[in-house]
Structure formats: C-alpha cells, structure tokens
C-alpha cells in the first residue's frame, strides 16, 4: 500500500511542477500592465514606472517565477498588486465559500443521484427506470447558469424565500451561510446529479450481470438484499472515479455560478484579478485549483485501494 501511495505521490509532485510552469508561462504572456491599469488614465509615465518597481514587476521572468514558487511552498502566495494585501489571506476567505459550495453541491448531487441510480437499476426497463433516465437526460441538458437564473427568478424575486445572492459570512451563523449557498448549490448540483445517477445505474447494471450476484441469489438472498449487500459496493468503484472528477468540475463550475449569485468565491476572484491584470493573484488561485484537483485525484486513487482489496496487495 505504501509503495502504491509513494508511486502516485511522485507523479503528483511532477504534475504540480509542470502545472506551475504552464500557468506562469501563460499568464505572463497576457497583454496589459497592472501598474498602468491601477494608476488609471491620467497617470504620468514616471508614476507608472515607480509603481512597477514597487510591485517587483521589473524583475526578470525566472526571478519572479522562483520567487512565486518559493513563496507558495512557504504558504505565502505573495501580495496582490491591486489589493496590496497578502494573497494567502484573500484566498483563505474565498476558499471558505468556494469549497463549501462545491462540497454542498457534491453532497446534494450524491444524495439525489445514488437512490435514483439504484432505483432505476433495480427497475430496469420498467416505468421507474424510464422516468429517472428521462429526468437525467433533461438534467444533463440544462445549462447550470440558466437554471440558476430561473431559480433566482422564482425563489428570490417572486417568492422571496431566500436572498438573491451575496454571502453574509460564516460569522453571521452557520445556517445563514448554508441558506445563502442553497440556491447556488442546487444549480451546481443538478447536472452533476444527472451524470452521477446515470453512471450509478449503468455500473450497477454491469455488476448485476456478474456471476457472484447469481451466487448471492443461490445463497438465498432476496433480489433486493443481494443488490444492497453485494451490488452497490462493487458498483462504487467506477462511481468513485466520476465523484473525484465531479468535485473538480464543481469547483470550476462554481466560477459561473458565483457570477450569477455574486458570491465572493474563488471564481469571482479569478475574474476580477484577470480584468485588473492582478497576475500574481490569478497565478496563485489557478495553481490552487489545479492543486486541489490533483490532490483529489490522488485521494480517489487511495480510496480505490481502500475499497478494492485487489489493488491493496499489488503495491
């Protein structure tokens, strides 16, 4: 097991290094000078030059890259050009919105998808199955930002059940925070739940055809018990892959949803930083997202080994 983790660990570090190089290279090429932008239209060349020096923009590229990566390893993402506050702090506040949102959406989608997938698989071909599959076809086809617009229109503006967006901050009470994230989470969760339900159903149907399910029935287990005791656990493996990938998509999908619900999460931070050419913030946030995704993939691999003994010994 350790060797398995070690092997994956090395490839993880390698991908992180390559990812940081790619991100830095792409972002440095973006036209537009942050200093000129900050000082606005009437600024004079000498003022702009002074600001560039202050922000360290005049150093050579390799120097800035090493400075950035070195800082990141120490947990210091550098200071934002426009906000002039440490980026780590900015990211910290916003991570506490994007991450819970993604987690909330993942929980919602799993809570809906698992029962739906299992129900559809157990009623294969009958009305229940066709109904669920029809709903998932629709769920996959609806763009989540459009669905978000409709949710806001109905629940926030017409019925005024919940605030139209914004985030009161976790200090304003855990449940108020959750309340603010409910609509966005539902909008984010819809397409993912549809995909997860379909994967759950098809992987369960594959398993139901396996020989050991017939052995279970021969032992005297009823159809339902055989499904739950043997079927679901074996069906988890392909579902796990999709869950791992989905969390990464939820993080990214959040970028659009945060726009619609004006949640101050990582998504909006990326947008604001790109439009104000706050390059170092963009680099750091994108790097963080990529790190989270790679770590999640790593976790999914470990979870594989946990569930499937065949992987554990092979090492």
């Amino acid at each position: 097991m350790i060797r398995f983790a070690l092997g994956r660990g090395i490839s993880l570090c390698l991908s992180l290094i390559v990812a940081s190089l790619v991100i830095f290279a792409v972002i440095e090429v973006i036209p537009g000078d942050p200093a000129a932008f900050m000082l606005g239209v009437n600024a004079r060349p000498d003022t702009v030059a002074a600001l560039r020096a202050e922000l360290g923009l005049d150093q050579s590229l390799p120097a800035r890259y090493l400075d950035w990566v070195g800082g990141m390893l120490r947990g210091d993402f550098g200071t934002s050009y426009t906000y002039r506050t440490p980026i780590a702090g900015m990211i910290a506040d916003r991570v506490w919105i994007s991450l819970p949102l993604a987690l909330y959406a993942l929980i919602l989608s799993t809570l809906v998808a698992f029962p739906a997938g299992i129900y559809a698989a157990s009623r294969r071909g009958r009305a229940g199955d066709i109904g669920v599959m029809g709903a998932t076809q629709l769920g996959v086809a609806i763009p989540n930002f459009w669905f978000a617009m409709i949710l806001v229109l109905i629940f926030a503006i017409e019925l005024r059940w919940v605030s139209a967006g914004g985030f009161p901050g976790w200090e304003a009470g855990f449940w108020r925070g959750i309340g603010a994230l409910t609509l966005p989470a539902i909008a984010l969760a819809l397409p993912q739940a549809a995909i997860l339900a379909r994967v759950m159903r098809s992987s369960l149907l594959d398993i139901l055809g396996e020989d050991f399910m017939r052995t279970a029935r021969a032992k005297g287990l009823s159809r339902r018990r055989a499904l739950w005791r043997h079927g679901v656990r074996n069906a988890m493996i392909p579902v796990l892959t999709i869950l791992g990938l989905q969390f990464a998509f939820l993080l990214a999908g959040g970028i659009v949803i945060e726009q619609v619900f004006f949640l101050p999460g990582l998504g909006r931070l990326i947008f604001q930083s790109i439009s104000s050419r706050d390059l170092v913030v963009v680099e750091s946030v994108v790097m963080l997202l990529v790190m989270v995704v790679i770590v999640i993939n790593f976790a999914v691999d470990l979870a594989y080994a946990a569930i499937d003994p065949r992987l554990r010994r092979r090492g």
Binding site: T47, G179, S275
Partner: protein, 489 residues
C-alpha cells in the same frame, strides 16, 4: 425531492433582517482595489471614502460647487501665486492624533514626491512650495497662476492624511471625516461607523455598509429582495421602470461628469481628415443609442462638456443625425464606398451595448466597424498608451476635463494650437465672466472640428428605499456622500 429540500432551507432563514433606523446598506457596482484615495485611480475608492472618511482643504457639494473643507477660510495674493489657508480648530484624525498644518504639508509633499504613486500627480504640478506658518495656518505658493487650484484641491486625490497612519492606509484608512473605517470583507462589503470625535456636525447615520454587486441581474435581485437599502449607479437601466412602479422604492436619475464619446484616432488615416470625422459624427443617431443601450437614461451632448455645468453650450445642431450628408462627406473625402476600421470596446455596458448600435449605424453609411471587446487593462495599453485603434467608446468621468484636447499625445491625438492658446488663457484668468467666454470658445472649436463624436452625458441612476433622504442626485465627482443621509420618520 428538490421541493422538500428548499422548503426546509427557507424555514431556517427568512429574508435579511430589516435595516435598523440609524444604519444603511449602500450597494455600488465596483469594489475599491484598496482604500488609499491618494494611491489609486479607481473611482470606487472615492465613492466609499470621499467626504465620509477623508477630507481635503476644500470640498465638492452636491451641485458641484467647491466649498471650504478642513480650511475654514483663505486669502489669495493679487498675482494669484500665494494661497494662505486658515485651518479649522480642534480637528482630529480617527486615531486621535490632531490634524494641523504639518499634516497638510506632509500630504502635499507626499503627493508631489519623485516616487509618489498619486494617480493625479498633475494636480500638484503648479505647486512650488508649501510652508507651515503656525499650526492653524499654511501657505501654498504656485510656480504659475492656476485658476482652478481650489477646484483641484477638492479632488479625492488631494485629501489630507497623517504621517503616523499613512503606512498601512491601503487596508486601514485613517482620515478626519465623520465616519471611521470599521471592517473590510474583501469581495463582499466595507463597514463604516460614526466617528464620535468629528469636528463638524454629526451625521444622522451611526453605521454604513457598502456592498459590491457588479452583475446586473444580481443587482436587480438584491434591490428587489431588499437585501440593500440603496444602489448608487444601478447597472441595469432596463429595470428602472419596474422600480418606479413599486411604492417601496424611489428612483433618482442624475448626471455625472462622464462625457461618453465615440473617440476617433485623429493621428491615423482616414480620421486625420475632418470631413471623415464629420461624416462619422453625422452617421450617429444619439437618441437611438440612449434608448437602446441605456434604456433612455442620459442627456445628448454636442461637445465634450457636462450639460449640468452652468458654462455648458448646446452645440447639438453641429452634428445632427444625417446619414445622406455623411455619405456625401465620405465621397468628398475620396472614400465613396466607405472604409473599414476597428471599434475597441471596454467592459462597461454603455460601451458594449452602445458599440453594437453604433456599429450598425456606421454600417448604414458604409463604414465597417470590427467590434473587439477588451478588458480595461488591455484598453489602457492598446488604446490609451499605444494609440493602436480606429474608434473606441469611453466615458471621461473626471470633472472639467476639456483640457485633454490641448494635449496632442492624448489617445485621440488632437493637435490644435488655437485650442491650446484658449486653454492657456483659461488657466491664467480667475474672473468668472472671462472664464465662461473662454470655455464657450473651447467647446465650439472641438465641436466644429468634430475631434470625436460626442454622444451623451452618462446618467447615474440610483434606486433607494422610499424612506431614505439626502442622497446626491448628480455625481460632480465620484462620491457617495453619506454626511447628509438619514431615514425619514
């Protein structure tokens, strides 16, 4: 399944608590990048802090006039070179330190310094020396007479700061204003509280929260769901008709100092030919743009001057909407079947939506405008600094900025010695009647020369709770002055 889920969520949290009577939640579109008005050009910094947290020697009033601020009174020498300011007594900064002449000298020297990052360094260009006479008196001597010096010192970039607190002013501002900075949750809100030790009349409000909502739908939803008490600069003019029809709200539509223009690159063919520029101006139907892009909000302008300013001259008849005449002019200029050019549009909706309408109007007369939507940073680099553009749309929101036509290096590169002479004369005279006449001559020159196609003055709609009083109607400078704001009983 979904229904049960949302029902339980709502049971836990009814709509946000109604605003207490002495506090207010103001929403504006953009969040200030930092809280140092002397260190950044972003208007959002002044919107939140001007007159609320920071004050200068002089101050803008709601109608745009300049009144005494921290300077109680002043005398100007006959040759107009020496200004002696008498400061108010007993003024303290929010950290308790007293405000005196030393702080004024420190603030101006800091702005004029070699490594200063003050966005409007030009305002202080004429100052030769600042001398402290006594703690309550400071003398400023100019290198050459400047009629608008008092006007310039009212700008947000010229507020008075203290050496003791200037170092981390960007995230913890300390000024002399009626409100103190309390908290900044980046990306979401800034909270100000009443400063008990304020030298002047105490404001009605005890607490003010600024929320930042850039997205038009979110803005509409926030106001409609009463999450905020007022939205200054509401980004979706198309929804104003709904707010006007709703008794809960009041809608105020004022003017800003923002002359929205279709700028032409005078340095590049074919825009170096006045006939072509006139053709472009005549091809434009201002009212269609105002209706289509701004849903009727905005006043047409014939020159680069704010219509609410007393010295404004109505020159709309110099550039009526006349596509046929425009085609004739193009033929005269040797371009019978028109030409192609680029139309670079910064992010605001007046540019993006206005741009689509202008492109189709220009197409009517044979001018093919290739639309390119770009970010502000790209606009500043490509258009403003490198002059790499044919046409662009931008709104100049700095007050009294007709002087930019005197600078040939300015992005639309207009080079007219007569105009420069008028501006020289203007800065030398302080007599109001002479100044009005000079301003009229300046406006007429740039209108007749069709330097740019002058579209409309950018309106600023504000949607607020019906019971809120004292909000500014117009925006002579970028500011949400809360000093006079209160709740009606």
């Amino acid at each position: 399944m979904f229904r049960i889920l949302t029902a339980t969520a709502t049971a836990m949290l009814m709509a946000g608590a109604a605003a207490a009577q002495d506090s207010v939640r103001i929403a504006i579109q953009l969040e200030p990048p930092n809280l140092d008005p002397t260190g950044g050009a972003a208007q959002a910094i002044d919107s939140v802090l001007y007159s609320n947290v920071f004050e200068g020697l002089t101050r803008f009033e709601a109608d745009g006039s300049v009144v005494p601020g921290l300077a109680q009174s002043w005398e100007i020498s006959d040759d107009g070179l020496t200004y002696t300011f008498r400061l108010r007594e007993g003024v303290t900064f929010h950290d308790g330190t007293t405000m005196d002449a030393e702080d004024v000298k420190f603030s101006y020297d800091r702005a004029m310094a070699e490594d200063s990052i003050n966005a409007q360094k030009g305002l202080f260009a004429d100052i030769a020396e600042v001398t402290v006479i006594d703690p309550a008196t400071v003398e400023v001597t100019l290198s050459r007479p400047n009629g608008s010096f008092l006007f310039n010192m009212a700008w947000g970039d010229a507020v008075i700061v203290a050496p003791e607190s200037v170092d981390d002013i960007a995230s913890d501002p300390v000024g002399t204003g009626p409100f103190m900075f309390d908290r900044w949750v980046q990306g979401d809100r800034i909270e100000l509280v009443r400063y008990e030790g304020y030298w002047g009349e105490a404001p009605a409000l005890a607490r003010a929260t600024f929320r930042f909502i850039a997205d038009p739908t979110a803005a509409f939803a926030a106001v409609m769901a009463e999450d905020v008490d007022a939205f200054v600069g509401f980004p979706a003019p198309e929804n104003l008709v709904q707010f006007e029809a709703d008794p809960r709200f009041q809608v105020l539509v004022g003017n800003t100092e923002g002359e929205t223009i279709l700028a032409m690159n005078n340095a590049v063919a074919p825009f170096d030919d006045p006939l072509v520029r006139e053709a472009v101006a005549l091809a434009i139907d201002r009212q269609a743009i105002i209706d289509g892009a701004m849903f009727g909000q905005g006043t047409p302008i014939g020159t680069h001057f704010a219509p609410h300013n007393p010295d404004y001259l109505d020159l709309l008849d110099l550039s009526p909407h006349d596509p046929d005449r425009a085609r004739e002019l193009l033929a005269e200029a040797g371009l019978p079947d028109g030409f192609a050019t680029t139309l670079k549009l910064p992010p605001p909706s007046y540019a993006r939506r206005g741009g689509e309408i202008i492109a189709s109007q220009l197409r009517e007369v044979g001018i093919e405008a290739d639309i390119q939507n770009i970010e502000w940073a790209q606009w500043i680099e490509e258009v403003f600094t490198n002059g790499d553009f044919g046409l662009t749309i931008v709104s100049h929101t700095e007050p009294m900025d007709i002087g930019i036509y005197a600078d040939p290096d300015y992005y639309f590169a207009y080079d007219n010695p007569d105009f420069r002479d008028v501006m020289e004369a203007l800065s030398a005279t302080t007599d109001p009647v002479a100044r009005t006449d000079l301003l009229h001559r300046a406006q007429t020159i740039i209108a007749e020369d069709h330097v740019n196609a002058y579209l409309f003055e950018l309106a600023i709609p504000t949607v607020a709770q019906a019971g809120l009083r004292g909000l500014w109607l117009n925006q002579p400078t970028a500011a949400v002055d809360l000093t006079g704001v209160s709740w009606a009983e």
